[in-house]
């Protein structure tokens, strides 16, 4: 048994690092609706799985500096936002990820003088995915590179390769250079079997800070070990990568 706490976590939206200005999350939800299919000859409720959904409600502290809460949240875009919540900073620690519409950015000025802001993210077309972090280094969950290269591999205890593809959630936080491409590679054993690109698990060339979700095909084979590899021409880049290995067609 190793019960953990909620200290030392991180939160990213569309390439903004809001870890230092987010005070709390009141809801990190991955849900599944149910369909009532109870027949008249049944004594208990009978249900079938329905649509999945997700959401994240959080409270921020007012920070007007560039790159922080006001800057990241005030525009209330109509387009989707990509959000990732990191529950730890060790390689492979759990993450919660979703593609969502931002619902509101509401300040509360309390009598004690504090100024906090509440926001909600509601998942769009796909529920919240719990995944694993691939860029953590024990300090802050963020990879920092001065040139292209590969990070340490991770095995999520998959007993064998799976055949339902994966999603990767990437937040490019800062970047100096021409372009950077973030790719996932897999291997049977992080040793004898060389790492090779997971087909479809690549961001393409990125040139500005942003967040994005990349999904492979729903039948893509994914081996036990995964790692992040970057290519491109750049002198500095900081980024966060989470992945979700799908175990059935249910969630793809």
């Amino acid at each position: 048994m190793s019960i953990g706490s909620g200290l030392g976590q991180n939160f990213f939206i569309d390439g903004y690092d809001l870890s230092g200005t987010t005070g709390s999350a009141s809801r990190i939800s991955s849900s599944q609706a149910t369909l009532d299919k109870t027949a008249i000859n049944q004594r208990g409720m009978a249900r079938l799985p329905g649509l999945n959904d997700g959401g994240l409600d959080f409270q921020s502290w007012f920070d007007p500096a560039t790159g922080f809460s006001q800057d990241a949240l005030e525009t209330l875009p109509t387009t989707d936002r990509v959000a990732s919540w990191l529950f730890g900073v060790t390689l492979g620690d759990p993450t919660a990820n979703l593609v969502a519409k931002q619902i509101g950015y509401d300040p509360t000025r309390a009598q004690d003088g504090s100024l906090s802001l509440t926001s909600s993210l509601l998942a769009n077309q796909h529920g919240l995915d719990f995944g694993r972090n691939l860029t953590a280094d024990g300090t802050d969950g963020i990879a920092s590179q001065s040139g292209a290269g590969s990070l340490t591999g991770y095995n999520d205890s998959a007993a064998a390769a799976t055949n339902f593809g994966l999603s990767m959630f990437v937040h490019l936080l800062s970047f100096t250079g021409t372009s950077i491409t973030v790719t996932l590679q897999d291997s049977d054993d992080d040793g004898t079997d060389p790492y090779a690109t997971v087909t479809g698990a690549t961001t393409g060339a990125l040139t500005t800070a942003q967040g994005l979700r990349v999904r492979t095909s729903a039948t893509e084979n994914v081996k036990e070990w995964l790692r992040v590899t970057t290519t491109g021409t750049f002198s500095a880049a900081t980024f966060v990568v989470s992945y979700v290995r799908y175990l059935s067609t249910r969630w793809t």
């Binding site: 200290l7 230092g20 003088g113």
Partner: protein, 151 residues
């Protein structure tokens, strides 16, 4: 925002000096009677992490006591409390007119955002055989991002 301990202390003592009412401003707890006239002694009471912070950093709640002191034998004796009240009022005005101490802190916290409000209880303290009437102006302040939190 790192915590600059000496800069914060100097900023508070500077505000006390600039009220123009104190004969002396000292940055320690006096062990001998400070002498006649108004004295302001600056003491740190607590230094605590506060919940008013981010996910992976701790902000710091500092509570300072700015002790305003006057020997009780000061004449006329019925002017002792009004003199202390006036000094506390002027000192509060200076502090509330510079809530961030020129950028050193997130805010001086008069209303208790972090759980401790500004207050100014009155009382007595005997130092070195001399009884003093005191007004302890408690000044809470919040400093951003003092400690990183890592599991």
């Amino acid at each position: 925002m790192a915590l600059s301990e000496r800069a914060v202390q100097r900023a508070l003592s500077s505000h006390a000096s600039q009220t123009g009412v104190f004969k002396r401003v000292i940055r320690f707890d006096p062990k001998s009677a400070p002498g006649g006239g108004l004295t302001c002694a600056l003491l740190l009471r607590t230094m605590d992490p506060t919940p008013a912070t981010g996910l992976n950093v701790s902000a710091c709640l500092l509570v300072w006591t700015m002790r305003i002191m006057l020997p009780i034998r000061n004449e006329p004796i019925d002017e002792v409390d009004p003199v202390l009240m006036g000094a506390a009022r002027k000192l509060m005005a200076r502090l509330l007119g510079d809530l961030t101490l020129a950028g050193l802190v997130r805010t001086i916290d008069p209303r208790g955002q972090a759980g401790v409000r500004m207050s100014c209880p009155f009382g007595y303290v005997e130092i070195d055989g001399t009884m003093h009437r005191i007004a302890d102006l408690n000044v809470p302040m919040i400093v951003n991002d003092v400690w990183a939190e890592v599991q």
